[in-house]
């Protein structure tokens, strides 16, 4: 068999990669849990975001890590716009329709990206792309490590938001009891002067 350090490194590589996938899945679960929207376009949005990072890196040469916060705001706006202007009106509140709308959205976005960027593989090369951190006999890719740390931090922040803050509690309430929220809104509206 293979020596222990090799197996250990392979396992750690797997965990580091998995953390990034978990972060992607987190976004999808949040959207479904709260809004009951199965967002088929999640992957397409992710691809759009990655192309945005690539564009920012290849044309003006901005470091990908520096683009995280501004792009997060931009895509927050895009997500809000998609819900408000496309998914909401098109689906008339029916879960089945929402599925179809997001599916259609994913097809449109993917093919638009294909038309603009063609099907060549693009990659981003920064100084740390292939640098490693030495942990004893193990060599861990820096880029992967940063991605892992980022995923853990974002997850922790999200958990804090959902469990401790008022907005978080409200989101969880909506997710648990849709009808109750509607009643509450009605009561508030009627009781206001």
């Amino acid at each position: 068999m293979y020596p222990v350090p090799i197996v250990a490194e392979a396992m750690i590589n797997g965990l580091l990669t998995g953390a990034v996938y978990a972060l992607v899945a987190l976004g999808l679960t949040l959207v479904y849990g709260v809004l009951h929207i199965i967002n088929f376009a999640h992957g397409a949005f992710l691809t759009m975001a990655m192309f945005a990072v690539w564009l920012g890196n290849s044309v003006p040469g901005i470091d990908p890590y520096l683009m995280i916060v501004p792009l997060a705001l931009v895509f927050f706006a895009i997500g809000y716009g998609a819900q408000r202007l496309i998914i909401g009106p098109a689906s008339h509140g029916d879960d089945g329709n929402i599925l179809l709308v997001t599916l259609g959205l994913s097809i449109v976005i993917e093919n638009l990206l294909l038309a603009v960027f063609q099907s060549d593989t693009r990659s981003i090369s920064t100084d740390i792309s292939f640098q490693v951190v030495e942990v004893g006999p193990l060599l861990l890719s820096k880029a992967r490590l940063y991605g892992f740390v980022g995923a853990v931090v974002v997850t922790a922040l999200l958990w804090l938001l959902l469990s401790r803050s008022d907005t978080g509690k409200a989101i969880r309430a909506v997710a648990k009891e849709k009808m109750g929220r509607a009643w509450l809104a009605l009561t508030c509206a009627t009781s206001l002067p």
Partner: protein, 429 residues
């Protein structure tokens, strides 16, 4: 009862005559001018016919040459190289006076896009046949070349394969199919020969080998051959790793290589995977004695050595290449790079192919193409080949060369007659 149409009044003889008289007058007028025209015209024609053809200004019909390349789809980049180089060759031939033995007939390109699949290639051959091309050059990849040349054989249409290495292309006994470049068997013979010589010259330091190949027919076939033949020369194959195209992450492959620590790594993968492997190996500090690539997509590619010089340094390849000692290549390199294209082997190879076909047409005017190509001893090419001699459609003078990336340049290291540098073996000590 429905009203019937009134019977047409018969035209009176008088009315018939009147228009006729008028016409007769016009006719006479026309007759006079026509006669004059005929007279002067015949005189002029007679004068022209009597004059030599050069003064006549009549141009001979252009000779149509079919160029088949996959300019869209997965193989688009290579297809573009092939098309542009064929265009350059045709332009150069026409500027130099065309096919002189056919009254300076110019060559006209009939281009077909093979769309990176054999079915489209076959369609284009049919179109070219209907446009009456004299011969077809191209195909690029073995599956397209196989299908297209088979269809061309039905019409006795000469087909020059540009790159496709598969042995079956020239072993089907088709009288119309030719390949100027080396095929699989010539390539593998040179691969093993050169490796053994390099190792011997360094005192036989390398013994263990890991094969990393693309998981399609080409890579698997090549590795099967290596696995069978290399042990006969004292090498030990410690591992065979198949890599899919495309691959996004080769860190586990690099890990395996690190744990096995072979003396040599032989990758026969496509461009993207080779670059990723080289960079991952650099990251994981996997340093074999040498990376000895075979017909690799990146190991003798300018783009790789320009973008990642540290990862590329020292990598060797056995591949098609142009003769660095032939000055004509320098001119073509300039023209390609001015157009924004790197000079890969496809360019001098397709250029040479078109020149060869033109040379065949030059030697006898307009006769049997296939026969002429088969008898060709064309010397004016740009490649690292021995004397041109076609046997069963394959140019036996063709051979690949060993290259090595040294100091951000791709140098030819073997054979000596085309070498412009000495091999550094082992590349990493």
């Amino acid at each position: 009862m429905a009203k019937r149409k009134p019977k047409p009044k018969p035209k009176s003889k008088c009315s018939k005559r009147r228009p006729k008289t008028k016409r007769r007058n016009d006719k006479t007028r026309i007759d006079i001018t026509r006669r004059k025209a005929l007279r002067t015209g015949t005189a002029a024609a007679a004068a022209t016919l009597a004059a030599p053809s050069v003064l006549w200004g009549a141009k001979p019909d252009p000779v149509k040459l079919g160029i088949l390349q996959p300019v869209t789809g997965a193989l688009a980049q290579d297809g573009q190289f092939g098309r542009k180089s064929a265009e350059m060759a045709i332009a150069d031939i026409n500027v130099a006076g065309g096919i002189k033995s056919m009254d300076g007939a110019k060559i006209e390109m009939v281009f077909g896009d093979a769309r990176s699949n054999p079915e489209a290639g076959v369609q284009e051959v049919e179109t070219m046949q209907s446009e009456d091309v004299a011969a077809i050059v191209g195909g690029f990849t073995s599956p397209i070349c196989l299908a297209a040349s088979q269809v061309a054989a039905r019409y006795d249409l000469a087909y020059m394969v540009d790159v496709g290495v598969s042995d079956s292309i020239t072993s089907r006994g088709l009288a119309n199919t030719f390949r100027f470049a080396p095929g699989f068997s010539i390539c593998t013979k040179i691969v093993i020969e050169n490796l053994v010589k390099l190792n011997e010259a360094a005192g036989n330091p390398a013994r263990t080998i890991a094969l990393v190949h693309e998981d399609g027919l080409f890579g698997t076939g090549l590795s099967d051959l290596m696995e069978k033949q290399l042990p006969e020369f004292g090498f030990e194959i410690v591992e065979r790793i198949a890599v899919p195209t495309p691959s996004r992450d080769l860190s586990n492959v690099a890990l395996r290589l690190r744990s096995l620590n072979p003396d040599l790594i032989i990758p026969s993968t496509c461009y993207g995977e080779t670059v990723l492997l080289a960079r991952t190996m650099q990251q994981q500090r996997v340093r074999p004695m040498a990376v000895y690539a075979v017909l690799n997509g990146a190991a003798s590619n300018r783009r790789f050595v320009d973008e990642f010089p540290e990862a590329a340094e020292g990598i060797m390849d056995v591949n098609h290449w142009y003769d660095p000692l032939n000055e004509k290549n320098a001119g073509l390199i300039e023209r390609s790079e001015a157009d924004g294209r790197i000079y890969a082997f496809n360019t001098p190879l397709n250029y040479s192919n078109v020149m060869l076909v033109a040379d065949a047409m030059e030697r006898a005017g307009s006769a049997d193409r296939a026969g002429l190509i088969a008898a060709s001893t064309f010397k004016d090419h740009l490649m690292t080949y021995g004397p041109t001699k076609f046997e069963g459609g394959q140019n036996t003078g063709a051979a690949p060369v060993s290259t090595q990336m040294q100091e951000v340049e791709i140098k030819v290291v073997r054979p000596e007659e085309f070498a412009n540098a000495k091999a550094k073996f082992p590349a990493n000590t």
